[in-house]
Symmetry: none
Subunit: 316 residues, 4 copies
Amino acid sequence: MSGDRTAIGIDVGGTKIAGGVVDVRGRILVEYQVESPATDSEAIEDSIAELVGRLRAEHDAATVGVGAAGYVDQHRATVMFAPNIAWRDVDLKAELEERIDLPVVVENDANAAAWGEFAFGAGKDIDDLLLLTIGTGVGGGIVKDGELYRGAFGVAAEVGHLRVVPGGRICGCGNRGCLEAYGSGSALVKIAKEEIAEGSLLARNLVDLAGGDPDAVTGPLITGAAEDGDLFAREQLANLGRWIGEAIASLTAVLDPAMTVIGGGVSRAGDLLLEPIRQAFGQQLTGRGHRPVQEITLARLGNRAGMIGAADLSRR
Amino acid sequence: MSGDRTAIGIDVGGTKIAGGVVDVRGRILVEYQVESPATDSEAIEDSIAELVGRLRAEHDAATVGVGAAGYVDQHRATVMFAPNIAWRDVDLKAELEERIDLPVVVENDANAAAWGEFAFGAGKDIDDLLLLTIGTGVGGGIVKDGELYRGAFGVAAEVGHLRVVPGGRICGCGNRGCLEAYGSGSALVKIAKEEIAEGSLLARNLVDLAGGDPDAVTGPLITGAAEDGDLFAREQLANLGRWIGEAIASLTAVLDPAMTVIGGGVSRAGDLLLEPIRQAFGQQLTGRGHRPVQEITLARLGNRAGMIGAADLSRR
Amino acid sequence: MSGDRTAIGIDVGGTKIAGGVVDVRGRILVEYQVESPATDSEAIEDSIAELVGRLRAEHDAATVGVGAAGYVDQHRATVMFAPNIAWRDVDLKAELEERIDLPVVVENDANAAAWGEFAFGAGKDIDDLLLLTIGTGVGGGIVKDGELYRGAFGVAAEVGHLRVVPGGRICGCGNRGCLEAYGSGSALVKIAKEEIAEGSLLARNLVDLAGGDPDAVTGPLITGAAEDGDLFAREQLANLGRWIGEAIASLTAVLDPAMTVIGGGVSRAGDLLLEPIRQAFGQQLTGRGHRPVQEITLARLGNRAGMIGAADLSRR
Amino acid sequence: MSGDRTAIGIDVGGTKIAGGVVDVRGRILVEYQVESPATDSEAIEDSIAELVGRLRAEHDAATVGVGAAGYVDQHRATVMFAPNIAWRDVDLKAELEERIDLPVVVENDANAAAWGEFAFGAGKDIDDLLLLTIGTGVGGGIVKDGELYRGAFGVAAEVGHLRVVPGGRICGCGNRGCLEAYGSGSALVKIAKEEIAEGSLLARNLVDLAGGDPDAVTGPLITGAAEDGDLFAREQLANLGRWIGEAIASLTAVLDPAMTVIGGGVSRAGDLLLEPIRQAFGQQLTGRGHRPVQEITLARLGNRAGMIGAADLSRR
C-alpha cells in the first residue's frame, strides 16, 4: 500500500509525546516517544514537528492527527484550553502546518481514543459507541452513526464532569461532585489515602505493600494488590466501578449507545473493575426490563488508542 | 400548495389525542382533538385512525407522524413501552398502516417536540439543539447536525432520568434521585405539598388561593401565583429551575449543544423559571470561562411542538 | 392601692384566651379563660372584649395589655401577621379600643413573657435578660437595660428562626434548619416518632406508655417518662437541650445577656432539660475562659408569664 | 469651634496604631499612625500616649477614645482579652489616664466602627443599625435606639462567632462552624487556597496573577481579580457573600435592625460582595413577605470608622 493514506498520529500527554505511523487498518508501522516540555507552548510544537520528522524518515505519511487533553474547537484546529499544557486559544493546526508540510488536524485525546476503539478496537462492528477513559481524570468520547460526536463548539463528551453528587468532592475543574472526583485514578488514590489516614484496619496490607508509607500508595499499586487478592484494594476498585457504572446508566438515558468501552490506565484492572461497573449499571439503568441494553466492555487498543484514532481522524 | 408534502401530526397523550394537518412551513392548516381511551390499546389505534380520517376530510396529506410518550424503537415503528398507555412491544406503525392507507412513522413525543422546535421554533437558525420539556415528567430531545439523535436503540434523550442525587427522591421510573423527581411539574406540586404539610408559613397565601385545601394545589396554580408575586410559589419555581439549570450544565458537558430550549407546561412560567435556570447553569458549567457557551431559551411552539414535529418527521 | 395602676393582661393562644387583672407587683387578682375562635378575626376581638368586661366586673383596671403570637409592629398596635390566628395587618389596638374604653397595647407573646420574667420572675434583680420559650415553637424575648428590645420594626427576638443547620430539617416558617425545627416541643415529638418508626429498641418503653400507639406520643408523655427514668425520653430531652444550649452560645455571642431564662411547656422537664442546656452552652460559648458568663435558669411564672408581662407592659 | 468637644480617636490594630483628632461632625482634623509593638503591653500604652501627644500638639482635644480588637468590659475601661495584643484583664483606661491627662474610654473596635457609621456614615439617618466588618475576622457592632448595644458584660455583637455549621470549619476562637470560618477575609483566602491545592481549573488565572505561587494569593488579590472579571475570584466572593447574607437573615430574626452595614477590608469588593449578600438574605429571612425588610448597604467611612467612632464615643 502506498503512503498516501498512511497517517501519523501524535498523542500529547502532560509528561511525554508519543507518535506513530498508522496504516489504514489501524496498525502501527513505527513509533517514537519524546519528553514533553509542557510549560512551554512553542517548545511542544517544535517537539511535535521533530517527532513527525523522525517518523517520516522511517515511513512516509499523508496527514497528521494530533490528540491532546483539552478543549479543541469544532474546526479541529484551535486548542481553546488545555489543563496540563500552556495552550490558551492557540491555533495549533496553523502552528504545526507552518512547521510540517502536511495537513494537520487536532482532536481532543479522549475523542481520538474513542475513534480508535470505534474504527479498529472494541467497537469495530458497531455504529454507535461511548468511550470512558479512566486515568488521571475521566475522559470520554462519543461515536454516533459512524461519526465522531464533537458538539456544537467541539467540547462534547466531557463525561468526567457530569455532576453525580450535589455539593460533593471537589474536582480539578473547580466544581464539586463531578464523576471525575469519584471515578478517576486520582480519586482512587486520594480516597484510599483518606481511608488509610482514618486508620482503616482493612488497609494494613496495602500500606505494607507501600513500604509502610501511605504517601507511596499509587494507582498501579492498588490495582496490583487487587489482582493479588487484597480486599481493601478490591473494594476501592469496586467502589470506583460503582460510580462509573451508575454514571453510565445516566449517560445511557441520554445517549443510548450500542456499546460502552472502558479504557484508560485504571481499566487494566480488568474484571475487577468491569464487573462492578456492569453490576451497578444493571441495577441503575432507567427503564430496565423495557428496553434493549447495550454491552459494556474493555478497550482493546490500550494506551495507543489515542495515537491510532488521531491518525485515522486526520484521513477524514 | 399540493398535499403531497403536507403531513398529519398526531400527539397521543394520557388523556387526549390531538391531531393536525401541517404544511412544509410548520403551519397547522386544520386540527382536531379527541378523548384518549388510554387503557385499551386497540381503541387508541381506532381513535387515531378516526382522527386521521376527519383531518383528511378537511385537507389531504401524504404521511402521518405519531408522537407518544414512551420508548419507540430505532425503526420508528414499535412502541416498546409506554408509561401511560397500554402499549408493550406493539408495532404501532403496522397497526396504524392497516387502518390508514398512508405511510406512518412513530416517534417519542419529546423527540417530536424537539424536532418541531428545531425545524420551526426557537432553534430554526441553528444545527444542534437540546430540548427539555418540563411537564408532568421531564422529557428531552436532541438534534445534532440537523438530524434527530435517536440513539442506538431509539431511546436516547431521556434526560429526566439523569441521576442528580444518589439515594435521592424516588422517581416514577423506580430509581431514586432522577432529575424528574426534582425538576418536573409533578415534583413541583409534590414538594410544595410537602412543605405545606410541614406547616410552612410562606405557603399560606398559596393555600388560600387553593381554597384552603392543600390537595387542590396544582402546577398551574403555583405558576399563576408566582406570576402574581407570591413568594412561596416563586421560590418553588426557582428551586426547580436550579435543578434544571444544574442538570443542563451536566448535559452540556456531555452534549455541548448550540442551544437548550425549555418547553413543556411549566415553561409557561417564563422568566420566573428561565432566570434561575440560567443562573444555576452559569455557576455550574464545567470549564466556564474557557469555552463558548450555548444559549438557553424558551420554546416557541407551545403544546403544538409535538404535533408539528411528528408531522414533519413523517416527511423525512 | 387604687386600681389606677392595676392592669389587665390577655394571653391570646391558638385554642384559648386567658385574661387576668394584675397588680403593680405582678400578682394576679382574678383570672378567667375562654375558648379562642381562631379562624375568625372579629370573633376573637369580641371574645377579648367580653373577657375584659368580665374581669372589670370583678376588679377595676386602668389599661389592657394583649399578648399574641405573631409579628406586632413597633407601635404596639398592629398585628402584621399571626401564624395561628386570622390576623393580617390588623390594627388590633384600634379594634379593641373601639370595644373597650381603656388604653390597649399589643405585644408579641414571647416578648410579654420575657417582660413578665424580667419584672417579677427569674430576672427581677437584673437589667438584661434573654428568654427562650420552648413550647410548640421556640419563641424569644430580650430585655436590655431595663427596656424591652422590640427591634426597628417590632419583630426582634425570633430566636426560634436562627438557622442552626444549613439545609436541615424543615421549619414551620418555610425555611430549613431553624432552631425551632430541632429545639421545640413539636420537634421533640416529631423526632421521637421518627426514631420509633425506625424501630429504635430504646423507644419500646415509651411506646408502651403510649398504649402501643406511636401516634399517641406527646410532649408531656415524653417529659413524664423522662421524669420516671425512661432512658429514651431522657435522651430526647438531652438532645433538644443540646441544640438549645448551643444556640444560646450563638445568641450570647451576639446579645451578651446577664441571664437566659428557659420557659414554655417543655421547661417543665426542669433539670432534665436545663442540665443539657448548660453543658452544651459551656462547651460552645466563644471566648469561654476569657469573659464573664451569664446564668441560665428556669422561668418562674409558668404559663402566666405572658399575661403578667402584657399587663405590666400596658402600664408603660 | 472650641476644642472642648473635639476628641481624639485611636484605633489599635495588630500591626499599627492610628490616631486622629475628630470634631463633633465626625471630620478628622489631623491624623497620625505608628507601628504597634503588639507583644509588649506596656510598650503599646506608651505608643498610644506618644501618639496622643503628637495629635494634641497639632490640635487640642477634650477626651480620648480607644478602639481595640478584644473583649472590653461594660465600664469601657478593662480589656479582658485581646486576640492580637498582649492584654489580659488590663485596666487600659487607668493605664492610659496615668500617661495622658484626659478622660479615656476604651471600646471594642467593631463597636467603635458601628458607632462611627451610625453617627456619621451609612446610618446617620436611622436609629438602629447592625454593622458587620468583614476583614481578617468578622466583627460586629449594634446600635439600638441611638445607643451602642454593649451587652451585660460589654462583649455583645461578636457576630463572627455565630455558629453556622455544626461541626464545620475550625475557627480562630477554637470552636467549629463559626461564621468567621466561612465569611471572613481569612476564610476567603484559606478556601481559595484549598481549591487551588485541589487543582481547580477555574483558579488558573488567579494563580497566574499571584506569579504562579498559590501562597502569594491574598484577599486584595482576589478582590482585584474579581473586579477585573476573574470568574473564580467572583465565585469565591459570592460564596462568602452567601454565608454573610444567610447569617444576616439569622441575625435579623434576633435583632430586627433598621439597616445592616457591611464594612471591613473585604467590603471594598462593593457590589460583587453586596449583591450575593442581598440575594441570600432575601431568600433566607424568616417570615419574608409578612414583615418590613431592612436595607443592607456598604459602609461609608472606610477604615477610619473605628477611629471616628472611638473619638465620638469618648464624648458621651
